[in-house]
Amino acid sequence: MRYLSLFSLGLFLLFAVSMLIPALRELPRALDAGYLLGVPEAMGRAGGIGPMLFSTLLINGLALVMTVGLGLPLALFLWERGDRVARHSLQRAVILAIDLLAGTPSIVFGLFGSIFFCRILGLGYSILAGAATLAVMTLPLFARLALDAMQASPAAYRPLARSLGLGRRTTALRILIPSVWQGLVAAVVLSWARATSEAAALLFTAGYATRWPESLLDSGRALPVHIFDLAMNVSGGDAMAQRAALVLLVLTTVFVVVCRKFMQGVAQWQIT
């Protein structure tokens, strides 16, 4: 058991690291200010990825706020009904819809976004439309992971809180969330990872523009879209695609570390 599990962890890490070798090889050239802030030239084969990095931060930051802003209440809403989830038809419908969405190809989200957010809501090719589309795409994943985390918290909290006459708000915010903050951190991080690695959904919503976006209604090419374009449409773009992918990974790593520290601090602060 011990050797089998350690072996599979090792196998996975070996696969993952060898997958990243081409990107890691670009490390010296990637962490250079000219590249990180510069504007791309020759179809991305030269120059920097400044605008893409900025667009990615804007799109994913906004998307995460919307995902957590809507996903956490949705998970709490499902958790409130607790053990009656199985019977309560509305909750079962919600969980069903969540699973359906998880199975939908991201290109369908891109099309939905381009019609609903870009055309009907009139946002056009814009950062906001891209962020909204990403939010709708990662919402099911986040809500589901948050709900799983909440259901892993001790079941006895609920009658205990009721016996002390605690309201639903206090029970949820001051007891439930602090007791499962690790699961919630994992949910936030996985949702961020899913969103930041998404290209197809943004291609039709946030768009392809490589200039610095001046406002949330400007089109901005996100990093994954840039990576996809370099790898798929630009001949000789592989090396630059891997370099951009490395920057994206560094971005995700920074986010993971910050998220853990932030949540640890909050949890510590929360219990006093």
């Binding site: 053990d83 006895a156 009658p159 009721r162 016996s163 002390l164 605690l166 007791s179 006093t272």
Partner: protein, 244 residues
Amino acid sequence: MADYLSRLSVRGLGVHYGRRCAVRNVSLEFSGPGITALVGPSGAGKSSLLLACAGLMGDVPGARVDGEVDPGDSGVGIVFQQPLAFPLSIAMNVGLALRERGRSATDVDARVALALQQAGLWTEVKDRLRESATRLSGGQLQRLCIARSLALAPSFLLLDEPCSSLDPMSAKVVENTLRELSGSIHIVIVTHNLAQARRLSNRMIVLWDTDGGGSQVLADGPTETMFREPPHELVKLYLDGQLG
């Protein structure tokens, strides 16, 4: 604590889990300071009766309650068998309910200190109130749960086998705490430890499911007379430790 004679009356209480009837047509009165021991064979619905008295049956899936539990306007606190701390600090564990009711910080701190004193935990934790409560020992945790209920100044405190998961030393401390509290509030304690019941309680109620149709009150009276002249054959055997 309670400055006038509060009364918790139970009239014709029935608790049903689906088709099975746990408690059938129980009527009881609890009033004034003192300790009542609720005993009977395991599975006789003692915990269901306790939960019903605390008004928590709504939470239990598939449970149906009829009859009436009237606590008047006095508070009923309950301490569950498995001691469980909120993932909060010691002070916050005890004071959360009060803070939610919008009491001022100083008022809450005073009440928390008072509750911890009454639960006999104050001396051990008074300089680490900000620490997480999950690091307390078994006995301390149980007394924290008691303090948590006491913070709401209930007139009745129901405890479901409070010492079952404690070492003898901690059990003794909890028993002394309960004995002191019984001077001001009414305590109902569910227990299998007959020696403990004899030591602590001044009144004993024996709950028994004689005909399989749900438990009823087999005997109810002062503890000493219950031990010296058991009013019922089953009670005599039970108290001698042969049954249940």
